[in-house]
Amino acid sequence: MLNPLTRLRSSLGRHETRSPLVAALEAALGREHVLSAPEDLAGYEYDATIERARPDAVAFPASSAEVAAVVRIARAHGVPVVPRGSGTGLAGGALAVLGGVLCVMTRMNRILEIDARNRIAVVEPGVINLQLQEAVAPLGLTYAPDPSSQRVCSLGGNVATNSGGPHTLVYGSTVNHVLGVEVVLADGRVTFLGSRVPDAPGIDLRGLFVGSEGTLGVATKIVVRLVRVPEAVRTMLAVFDGVEPASEAVSAVIRRGVIPVAMEMLDRPIIEAVQHQKDVGYPSDAGAVLLLEVEGLAESVAQDAAAVVEALEASGARGIRVADSEEERAALWEGRKSAIGAIGAVAPNFYLLDGVVPRTRLPEVMRGVVELSERYGFRCGNVFHAGDGNLHPNIMFDELVPGASARVLELGGEIMRLCVDAGGSITGEHGIGLEKRSYMEWVFSPADLDAMGRARIAFGGDELFNPCKILPTGRGCGQAHAAEIQRHLSTPGVYV
């Protein structure tokens, strides 16, 4: 909270130094919807990664026309524009690495339409994921993608990163649930990609846009598919002595021909952190727990749950708890949902990684993650979507220890390499953003990256539209910018 004197000073300062860029933005959106004072910008120089980059101005448009105006104004002034939702991104995708205008979508937060009969909803990008779920719940419907940050993350951000979540295993990622999207393109033109029903004619621009991390345009309206809430759900918690037997159990369940809607794993450091914060009933001496959920018709759920329990027992589960009520189910999930927050309470800093491996390679890759963390001397907790083979190692560290941040990033790179070598991917749901650009060359050839670059060019993407994201240095964000990026990043990055 600023004291009145500071606030007066800053507002005076703003008058004195207001640039033509800021003046143009204020004229388009109204003065109260533009930030440009250094102390105001500070709140927008980060997302959920460790990097920081300060924009020159922050704009809060309220309509697609205003978004178009922001995009045009930034272009006219020769500065980049970077879209941002709730700022919960984990790959630096919403960082204004070359400065410019941060286009924050939080004011566009209306649910425009819920059509229960046709099972769609039309929303603005600033709507929070959980708000949509809560709005449609009374109709017996739900919006399936449920990233762990769903209490705060925006649907526009979900579209940008093609977010996943625990239930992706059966329901798929965000792209499977977006039918159409209104987009403001890099030149300020407003267009609509897709339809209100699936399989629209023509090239699937919608499918290309979802997951493009805000580099092909700004989503201003989203048509999403809703699904019926199943008749029955059974949630189970299985306790194991270690991560490896729990990983083996994941494949054992699938081998029975049952695909649970969620299979989440928490290892010992995470269980301890969760229990340290609040007793959610996870056994503190467990090496790992698996949280599994099956759903469907009452008849099949009972059968599936029995098959799952059998598979878990045969894989060495030393205890299995089955939730019998909605309260018990919520209790089992609470530990999972509070896990990331709980790490914050036991470590000064942590670096959350996102990698994918084929499910059957989980045991060996998890062993590798533990060995690498030990070699680097960092504590590492794992809470992840085991059913999808989607790892989330959390490396705990203290950024005040000299050199720690750099070594953590180095370890992160080695873990990503481990995923790639196992036939996997460098990101399952968080995106490439700024953070993983340099790893793209580990999975894609120069020709592959060139093709991706051409898709970006077709959308009019250039260095003035969310630059330096997704594609590695030299592709839309030249070496020449390295120093410029460094200037905007207030922490030393190893990615540039």
């Binding site: 090239i203 290309l208 997951g211 494949s251 699938i254 049952v258 008849e299 994918v356 083979g389 999975v443």
Partner: protein
């Protein structure tokens, strides 16, 4: 093809693969036009070589698999080289425990299904006209079947592709793991692009366990509105549903049922889930005063699938039926079926897959004005109309797609196929 350069170019294309890969051009007619050369490469390198040579020579290439969607889209502007992809029919990797598979583009769904069935798994797609469709065609056309809306479509199941680009470069996007957001999803861009941005040579998919029990029921009704009410009641229950289709009398007859409005339903899952679903279905049918609800075999679905792709005749420009696919909100499906059924056209059949809002209309022939009338209805309902199959004349007179951002689509074409080597003219006004 008279100039010396074209002849030389053609020779270069021919030389890109061993002589024995050449096929009789007569077998590759599209809208009566036979290509100058037809080649059936054996691997991706040969596909790339052919494309590179053709691109260099300014020759038009049409990649094709089972040849079941060549009356989809505007007539080609040029057609020099038929690229038969069926020589690329290997299973590259199959990981049953990961529920993933990587295959070459020329593999048929039939072969793929047989291979997966051994391990009790499937690729859950029922694209028209049937399992002769190749994997490349499955993706390039992205034709939805009756399962769409209940099961994921091919756009959702594709994990990655490798394509040969017009210049002869091979590029890959995505990967082989079931969850992946690294880079731009060019595999989704190629899905439904009708082979205009690259020739798909390999694809990876997410698989599913094959349901132990699958049963179909035909519910006979007296009118469309009644069938609609029953269909919605079924959809609103969370049963083990794989398909709910609404059939006007002529479509029902074509499917082998009686000439009355029908709701055709497929359930799939465990025995317990399917039995329970069948019990509920009989309650719903009774509540809706249906005339009958009888179990039927899968042949009704197979007939509808075949009907949805149209005739595949290419020897007479005016011959062949018309098939339209409309996308409308499910609540509009019955109204569109009625509107289509009211058209005065021989051999007219209309049916719809409720959850995906896909209405199919087929007729022996259809006037331009009738197609535009139906398109207006679809557009007004917030949807679209695509011509799935029609004589070349109709596809010239009417934009076969009628939707999409043409500026962006053209820009993509410009970036990925600047010389117009792949399927030139396929997008018609949209190119």
């Amino acid at each position: 093809m008279s100039s010396l350069t074209s002849t030389t170019g053609l020779e270069a294309v021919r030389a890109a693969v061993p002589l024995e890969r050449e096929r009789p051009v007569e077998d590759y007619r599209i809208d009566t036009v036979a290509p100058a050369v037809a080649l059936r490469p054996a691997d991706r390198a040969e596909v790339a070589s052919v494309l590179a040579a053709a691109n260099e020579a300014g020759l038009a290439v049409v990649p094709q698999g089972a040849r079941t969607a060549l009356r989809l889209g505007a007539p080609l502007e040029r057609y020099d080289v038929a690229l038969d992809m069926r020589g690329l029919d290997r299973i590259v990797a199959y990981e049953p425990e990961d529920l993933t598979m990587t295959v070459e583009a020329g593999l048929t769904l039939e072969a793929l299904r047989a291979h997966l069935a051994e391990r009790g798994q499937e690729l859950p797609v029922d694209t028209p006209p049937g399992d002769e469709v190749t994997v490349g065609g499955l993706l390039a056309t992205a034709r939805p079947g009756a399962w769409r809306g209940h099961l994921p479509g091919q756009r959702d199941l594709v994990l990655g592709v490798t394509v040969a680009q017009p210049g002869g470069t091979l590029t890959t996007s995505g990967g082989r793991v079931v969850k992946n957001v690294s880079g731009y999803d060019l595999h989704r861009m190629h899905t439904g692009a009708l082979g205009t941005l690259g020739a798909i040579v390999e694809a990876s998919f997410k698989l599913a366990p094959r349901p132990p029990a699958v049963r179909s029921v035909a519910i006979r009704c007296t009118q469309t509105a009644q069938a609609e009410a029953i269909a919605f009641d079924l959809w609103d229950r969370t049963l083990a549903t794989r398909a709910i289709s609404l059939l006007a009398p002529a479509a029902a007859e074509a499917a082998g049922l009686s000439s009355m409005p029908h709701v055709l339903v497929e359930f799939g899952g465990s025995e317990a889930a399917v039995s329970r679903s069948l019990r509920d279905l009989h309650d719903v049918a009774a509540l809706g005063h249906a005339l009958a609800a009888d179990e039927v075999d899968a042949s009704a679905w197979a007939r509808l699938r075949r009907l949805a792709a149209g005739d595949q005749a290419h020897d007479d420009a005016s011959a062949g039926d018309v098939v339209l696919r409309l996308g409308v909100p499910p609540s509009e499906v019955a109204r569109v079926i009625d509107a289509a059924s009211a058209l005065d056209a021989a051999g007219l059949a209309a049916w719809a897959h409720l959850a995906a809002g896909a209405v199919l209309v087929r007729a022996d022939a259809l006037e331009v004005a009738r197609v535009l009338e139906l398109r207006a209805i679809a557009v007004e309902a917030g949807g679209f109309l695509q011509i799935e199959a029609a004589p070349a004349a109709l596809r010239t007179a009417v934009d076969a797609f009628g939707a999409g951002d043409l500026v962006l689509s053209s820009a993509l074409r410009e970036q990925f196929d600047p010389r117009g080597t792949l399927n030139p003219g396929r997008w018609g006004t949209a190119s």
